[in-house]
Each structure stands twice: as structure tokens, then as C-alpha cells.
Symmetry: C2
Subunit: 241 residues, 2 copies
């Protein structure tokens, strides 16, 4: 048997229970847009991002600590909030030295599931911080579970493509032996040079672009290393390590 650490891919939150998280670094992946937005905010100097599961909680916590309450439901800025889940909203001018309290449809829920299942460590990833995620996992040499947030438990391709991008860089240093990972890397290899051109085929693209006109968000979320920080979850918040 190989002594390499293992890498597995959970292509939906509904499949996360199949993997042992207690000995693993879990990478939360919600490309459109939670984990892209987290990378963007931290890259632009946010003190931290506090992920919460409800709008009232986001409002309460942000009031208490003087932070920015933000989030979306079904792709739109959530009712009662002034700020949404667009990575482009969190410029350095706006977010530097502030705390972002964020609630989203899928990413926040998956993070809570990873906590409930006693993940050894939780980080978040998307194309904007691809290299930071890969460099960290290569250095850490622990087992990895790539957790795709999907859309209300449905499989989505953008999260799987990011998983494939990570696998593509890590495959020689890890034991990768699951069909999900093989599929993810195959899909990524096929589309890696035309991710933005491929995007209109994705169901999530239609929600974001046709309904809300968020094409610039899409481009940001699919561009490697434009916000290359490593968000690490600890004591209820994501901080840049």
C-alpha cells in the first residue's frame, strides 16, 4: 500500500457522509459564488469572514461586532440585507479591516455539515485562490476531501471543475482512487483552457447571468489566482492564513 495521503471528492453535500472527515482537510467549494466571495474579501483585506446560516443571525452578529452583514438566497441579495454574494462587491476600499458576516444558499450549509462531521480542518477554495489551496494541501500532506456545495444537493459542474483543477495539481502526491475524482479531473482537463466559454452550458450560469446579469461575477469566479489567499476556518470564522 502507498503511504501517500488519500484524496476523495464529494460531488454533492448529500454524499459527504460517505467520507471520513475526521482525519481530513475538507475543502469547501462553492464557485458560484460563496467561496469566490470569501477569497475576494480576504484578499482585499477583510479581517475575517463569519459564515452563518440565516439572515437574522447575519444581522445580529454584524450589529454586535460592527461588521458587514451580507448574503444571498437563490442568487439574489437576501431580504433585509444591503450586501450580496458578489465577489466584485468586496473591493479593498470597501472591505479592508472590516468583518464580513456572510450567509449563502449552499456554501454555508456545507461548511456546517463538515463541522458537524468533525472535519479535522476546513479551508475554502475556488478558482480565484486555486494555487493557495493546492500549495497548502501539498505542504500539509494530510488526507483531503474536496466538498462540492452544488445547488440544493444537486450536482453542479463548476464546483466539480474546481475539484478537478485541484486533483490535476495534486494527483502525483496523493492516492486518488474514486470515480468522482477521475470524472472531475477528466472534465477539468477537457475544459481548462475554455472555462468561461464553457460556462453558458451550466445550469447555474442561467440563474446568475440570464436572471441577474452577473457575467462579470462568473468571469471572476472562473479565473485562477486573482484573489490568491488561503481561507482557514477556526473558531467560527474564516481568516487568511
Amino acid at each position: 500500500m502507498s503511504n501517500k495521503p488519500t484524496l476523495n471528492t464529494a460531488i454533492s453535500p448529500a454524499l459527504l457522509h460517505l467520507y471520513d472527515l475526521s482525519n481530513s482537510v475538507v475543502v469547501i467549494i462553492d464557485v458560484f459564488r460563496a467561496t469566490s466571495t470569501i477569497a475576494s474579501a480576504l484578499y482585499n483585506g477583510a479581517k475575517c469572514v463569519i459564515p452563518v446560516d440565516s439572515v437574522p443571525k447575519a444581522i445580529d452578529i454584524s450589529k454586535n461586532i460592527g461588521g458587514i452583514a451580507a448574503g444571498e438566497r437563490d442568487g439574489m441579495i437576501a431580504e433585509g440585507l444591503q450586501h450580496g454574494n458578489s465577489p466584485l462587491e468586496y473591493t479593498r476600499e470597501f472591505i479592508e479591516n472590516k468583518t464580513l458576516v456572510l450567509t449563502t444558499t449552499n456554501g454555508t450549509r456545507l461548511l456546517q455539515m463538515a463541522l458537524d462531521r468533525n472535519a479535522d480542518m476546513i479551508i475554502s477554495g475556488s478558482f480565484p485562490n486555486l494555487s493557495a489551496v493546492c500549495d497548502f494541501l501539498l505542504a500539509e500532506k494530510k488526507n483531503v476531501v474536496l466538498g462540492c456545495a452544488g445547488w440544493k444537493d444537486r450536482f453542479n459542474l463548476e464546483d466539480t471543475l474546481f475539484a478537478g483543477a485541484v486533483i490535476n495539481r495534486l494527483t502525483k502526491e496523493f492516492t486518488v482512487h474514486c470515480d468522482s475524482s477521475l470524472m472531475a479531473e477528466t472534465m477539468y482537463t477537457k475544459y481548462k483552457n475554455k472555462l468561461i466559454e464553457f460556462a453558458p452550458k451550466l445550469t447555474h450560469y442561467h440563474r446568475l447571468v440570464e436572471r441577474f446579469g452577473l457575467i462579470e461575477d462568473i468571469k471572476f469566479c472562473l479565473t485562477p489566482d486573482v484573489a490568491n489567499v488561503l481561507p482557514v476556518y477556526s473558531n467560527g470564522m474564516l481568516i487568511s492564513k
Copy 2:
């Protein structure tokens, strides 16, 4: 909106609940090997196949009706049974005019789930009966859910590749708008001319070939139309329509 029927792909039994089955034809897909074996037995003249969820039930029913009790657990002939889940076991000489009572790890369970969720109609498919499945769905013009049996709720590629083969033939006549189906068809298109060469990369291949030497089973299960019947589920049994 299009008036075409919809087609969705459930890439794991754990995701089946996301789809409305009550207005759909559900295709049970367990390429290695339950639905290949069902096609083989019916093609070779079995009166019917009765899928059951336990070995004792298989033995009881087969005794009562004078049928053949068969099945596997974790890839091997199940304890207490004389016949397994190999499509090559069910030659015409052996199975013609007999009833096969079959219990398997994943396929039988998925079929039961589809029943519990009130599927409008249930058929079974694998590469050996690819054309029969596609021709039926094209003629029927109802909504379709392709149900991949996977391996103990894990995604597997062979079932998804078969889903992709079906989508590839049906896509113009159906509304196909889910990332699972897009992924399945993309993977199928990439490997359709080298399915058997690709097979050694699949986790299930290792179970079946390296542990049990079942390479001929694998080849049969991946060859289109070598047992081209349409198994339709009705009153507790699959019969060839």
C-alpha cells in the same frame, strides 16, 4: 417553454429524491452487473426476473415457484446461493423458460427506492440493451429519470457512462437541462469508442477483475446491444416487452 419531455440523471441513489418520479419513466442502471444480467437472462428466454432485497427472500421465492435463486454481495455469489450476478452465467441452455430470482448489492435497492417514490414506470438498462431502452424512451415521449445505482451510494462512472449513452441518443427529443446529464454525455462522448480500454480506471473494475477475474463480464457489460431486450417492471417482476 418547450413541450418536449424532460430528462434528468440521478448520479447516485442518494440523489434520487431530488427528482419527481411520479410523472417519469425511471431507468434503473447498474452496469456492473445487475442490469446487464437482467438483460442477458431475459434475452436468453427467461420467463421473468424477480428482483428481491435479501438472500432468504430469494431462496424462499425460488422454492415456491421453482425458480433459480441468484445474487451477489460485494461482488461475490451470496452465501447460501448457487448462482451469482454474472450475465454470462445465464445462457439460453440454462435459463430459457425459467424464472430468475435475483438479489444484488445496489441495483435491487435502487429499484425499491424508485417504487417507494411512486415512479410512473420502471425499466432497466445497460449497454447490452442500450438500443431497446433508447427506442422505447423515444417512442414513449414521457419524462425520463436515469437512475444510476452506483456503489453503496457512491458515484460510479460505468453507470454514468451508460446514462451518457442514452442522453446522446435522446438529447434532441428531450429537454435536457441538468449538469449531471451534461457531465454524463460529455464523459460518454469522450470514451464511447474505447469503453473497454477505459474500464481499468474504474474503481469497480478493480473489485471485479483484480479480485474475481471477471474480465469477460466487464466486456459483456460494456458492449452495446448484445442482449437487446427491454426489461419492464410490473407486479414485482421484470419481463421482456
